[in-house]
């Protein structure tokens, strides 16, 4: 497990907890919950740029390369999709949708790490 995974672990869990708490408090998605999900997206973008640099520097992906990139590109779409979906209907339930992003991306990050090493 590398730094990217731990970054996803921390940012993802914090985002999920924030969104679950906001949902339980019957709040609609607001700036803190939406920004927490966008923070997950930011980590993923850094992961993407970092991975491109590592491959360009000659590092080898141990597993299937296309599987790694498939996971990463899919993961990049999840926070954006969830935020769009949450903004369309701003109820407390949309915060639970946002909460699902952190854990989902976290699991995908763990799998991406397995493929890379």
């Amino acid at each position: 497990m590398d730094g990217y995974f731990y970054a996803l672990l921390i940012v993802g869990l914090v985002s999920t907890i924030m969104c679950v708490v906001a949902g339980l408090m019957k709040k609609a998605p607001n700036d803190p919950t939406i920004y927490s999900v966008l923070a997950v997206e930011l980590v993923l973008v850094v992961y993407l740029v970092g991975s491109i640099i590592r491959v360009a520097m000659g590092e080898q992906i141990a597993g299937e390369a296309w599987e790694f990139w498939g996971y990463l590109i899919t993961a990049l779409m999840i926070p954006l999709g969830a935020v769009y979906w949450a903004i369309l209907e701003r109820t407390r339930w949309s915060n639970f949708v946002l909460a699902a992003v952190g854990v989902t991306v976290l699991v995908m990050g763990a799998r991406m790490n397995q493929i890379w090493y």
């Binding site: 498939g70 209907e89 339930w93």
Partner: protein, 143 residues
């Protein structure tokens, strides 16, 4: 509005949609499963179909069920409601049957599917999801 008869011809959008409130969360989780099951089945069939055709056909079936459930839950109307019920029931039967077979006859499933061991590899979400789905569909049954 109390006491007045509502016009039966007036459509009641609240009753005939399942994509608001908790339904949004349900659709989001179904969408994630549709995505991951499709990717997994596609990968298995493309690379190692011959090793375990049954398990991989089941993976593909699971992927189709999740896709149908996601789309039908998001759509309004009575027909889509029926499609949703069929998809969620298929999912429940699938996870129970495949879960039981994989438990008692692991040889038949040398490769994991989404539904193996009642979805243990996915935190048992595949087992809980159809139950929540049926509860939600029952709550939003078209009158």
């Amino acid at each position: 509005m109390t006491g007045t008869e509502t016009n039966p011809a007036t459509p009641q959008p609240k009753k005939d949609t399942r994509n608001t409130g908790p339904g949004r969360l349900l659709i989001a989780v179904y969408a994630v499963f549709a995505l991951s099951a499709t990717a997994r089945a596609g990968y298995q069939i493309a690379t190692k179909f011959a090793e375990a055709p049954l398990a991989h056909i089941l993976s593909a079936l699971a992927a189709v069920v999740y896709i149908v459930a996601t789309i039908s839950l998001a759509k309004p109307g009575r027909t889509w409601f029926k499609v949703s019920v069929a998809a969620v029931l298929t999912e429940l039967i699938g996870v129970l049957v495949v879960g039981a077979i994989s438990l008692f006859d692991p040889v038949a499933f040398p490769h994991d599917t989404v539904w193996s061991l009642f979805g243990r590899g996915y935190g048992f979400v595949p087992l809980i999801l159809p139950i929540l789905g049926l509860l939600w569909l029952n709550k939003r049954r078209p009158s």
